[in-house]
Structure formats: C-alpha cells, structure tokens
Subunit: 194 residues, 2 copies
Amino acid sequence: MQKNKSEKYHKILNSAGAVFAEFGFHKATISQIAAKAGVADGTLYLYFKNKDDILYQFINFKTQDVFKKMHAAVDTDRNAETKLRNLIRCHLLAFQNDKNMAIIFQSEVRYLRDIESQIKDISKMYLDLLSDIIEQGQVEGAMRQDLFVGLVKRFILGAVEGVISTWVSAEGRYDLVAMADPLVDLYLTGVRGE
Amino acid sequence: MQKNKSEKYHKILNSAGAVFAEFGFHKATISQIAAKAGVADGTLYLYFKNKDDILYQFINFKTQDVFKKMHAAVDTDRNAETKLRNLIRCHLLAFQNDKNMAIIFQSEVRYLRDIESQIKDISKMYLDLLSDIIEQGQVEGAMRQDLFVGLVKRFILGAVEGVISTWVSAEGRYDLVAMADPLVDLYLTGVRGE
DNA sequence: CTAAATAATGAATTAATATTCATTTGAGTT
DNA sequence: AACTCAAATGAATATTAATTCATTATTTAG
C-alpha cells in the first residue's frame, strides 16, 4: 500500500464517493469503483487496505476538510449569534457543494463507527463548537441562562441534519444555503407568536 | 410463505430486531436470527421472502404501531401547543420503550428506501402531523404567521431525531422522555435571551 | 541502453452466507 | 394404526464479490 497521497489515490477516493453515494456502501462493488477511477480492481489494494478502509479514508478526509472550513467560519466574528449564523451557513454550503459527501455522511456513519471506533466522532467536534458558542452567548446575555447546553447543541445539530437530509431526498433541487437564515431564526426565537 | 401472522412470525421478527440492532443489518446473519428465535434457518423462509423482507416487515410493523400511538396522542387535545407537546412526548416514549427499534430506525432506514421504495416514507406521516399542528397554531395565533412550514416541520423532526440519536449513542442510560418538555420549550421560544 | 525497482493488471481464488429442497416430524382424521 | 398434509429442518448448493498474486508494464538510476 502506497504512502503518499498521489493523484491516483484521490481519483480512487472520488470515484468511491460517487459509487457509494449512488448505490450505498454495501451494494457498491470494488469493480465499479475501479472502473469509474479507470484502474484495475487490484490497484485499489495498492492504495487502500480493503473496502472498509476506502470508506474510512473518504469520511476522514472530508471531515477534516469540512472542519477546517467550519473553524474558519466561526472565527470570522466575535459575536455569538453571528458565529452561529456563520457556522450553519458554512455547514449547509459545504454539503450543498458536495452532495456525495452529504449522502454518505447521512447513511453510512453508523457502519463506519463500527469498523473504526478510533475515528473522531463526526458530531463530536461540531457539538464542541456549538457548546462554545452557546456558552459565550449566555455570557454575553444574548442567550438564555436556563438553557441545558447538552440538549441545545443536539437540538441545533439535529435540525441542521434534518434539513440537509430533506434536501438530499429532494435530489438537491433547491438552494440549501438559503435555509440558513430562516433556520437560525428558528433557533433564536422559536415558533411562538408574540 | 405463510400468510397468517402467527406467534412464530412475531418471534422471528423480534429476534431479528434484536440481532439487527446488535450487529447491524449487514453483519447480522440468518443463522443468528434463527438461533435466537429457536427455529431452523430454513424456517425463516416460510415466513419471509428473504433477508431484506425481514427488515422491511420489521420496520413496517413498528411504523404502523408507532403511528397509531402518535395519532392518539395528538387527538387528546384541541390546543396546538399541547398537541405538539404530546406528540413529542409520545415519540420519545415509544423509542425509549423499544431501543431495538430506535437503533434500527436510526441506521437502516436509508438502506430500506433502496430495497422497497413502495414503503411509506417513514417521515411522511409524521411531517404531515406536524404541518397540521403548525398551521393550526398559526390560525390560533399561538405561532408566528411568517413561519415557513416546510422548514419548521423538518426543524422539529430533525431535532427530535438528533436527541434520540444521542440517547442511543449513550446506550440509553438516561431518561429520554424527560427531554420532551425542554425540547418543546426550545421549539416554542428558542434560545435567545429576553 | 540496460537493469533494477516500482506500479499496475485482472484472472483465479477464497470466503462468507443467503437460499433451496429432499427429508423428517407431528398433528389431525378416519 | 395407517394415512394425509402442513410445518419444520438443516445439510448441501449457489451466488456474489472481496481479495490475492503471478505476470506485465512503466519508470528510474547507473
């Protein structure tokens, strides 16, 4: 198995992403991925330990990439509400720009947790980001003091994921990022009338 | 394949639920399920078309059961906010009482969508229930007029699912139903300070 | 230009298990 | 007790696709 992340490595990873997204990890075959990448079946095993490893590397790679962006997005402002808004916008944008990733994250994450428990829980870093924002918001007085942070962060992440999930089911036919502001608005002020 | 839903049919369905929940659908084997149900491998094929069909029937059965309960919960009151509260409470209770179902719904539903697109979208009825409640809330003046119902219902369902998902990850070690009121409170008034 | 060394190939092998079906069991009937 | 038929069995089979590895191609170094 080669060590350097050559062009071919990324070619295979991308092809795998497309095939996994279309057929699901279990129905996807090595031959399909190899064909799409324009290499022989055996070649995949020069770059990856096995089929599971391809999924693992895919998610690992994408996760790191997305989190770099999210951190950057949060760091652009000092205000908690703005941070939250930027985080959600960034999140939706990243998934909108990479539908394969969106599909795979949505459907294979639990299987992945089984095969590689060492992997950083994908939600974990996200939830930590949110905790910081909420706690800061409370200090600033912009968010209620009586919030149970453990629930609030789950509430926020769950709702974003739900919105992404719907968008995926709709084959990505509308603008996902446009949901960011209405969504944050719901987080902040809820549905209750004045 | 037998037609009547005999005791053995349910025995197998339950065993399958336990095995699917523990190992995941793909790693679970027919032999495991048969052993747990106390029957021979071949017997499963008298009651189910194939392995996929077992999962399909499991989800179908549980879905119907849960929806009966949810409808009943919503119908206990005329007030929109109360309806919402009862729905969420009922949802959390049903999943708390049946952890196998919770695990399977969380991880295998997308696979199912592939094998049996005829199945009613599991979220569909739920989302319709929510739409009705929200629209009623708007009429009553209890909920804001400017809500985008399509987003709000996704927002609500996503957040509940996120909360359930966390509970499952925590091996169900705390009281899930206790999350209902704080959660509904978040839906209604959001996180923003006064 | 030749010889290592490295990379890639893809047919053959392996492994895992879902599914089948010839046979057995057991309950009900005459 | 002998017969019938449905239900159940589980060893044998079929299938599917992941993985291997002997062979071939390509690149690099002297």
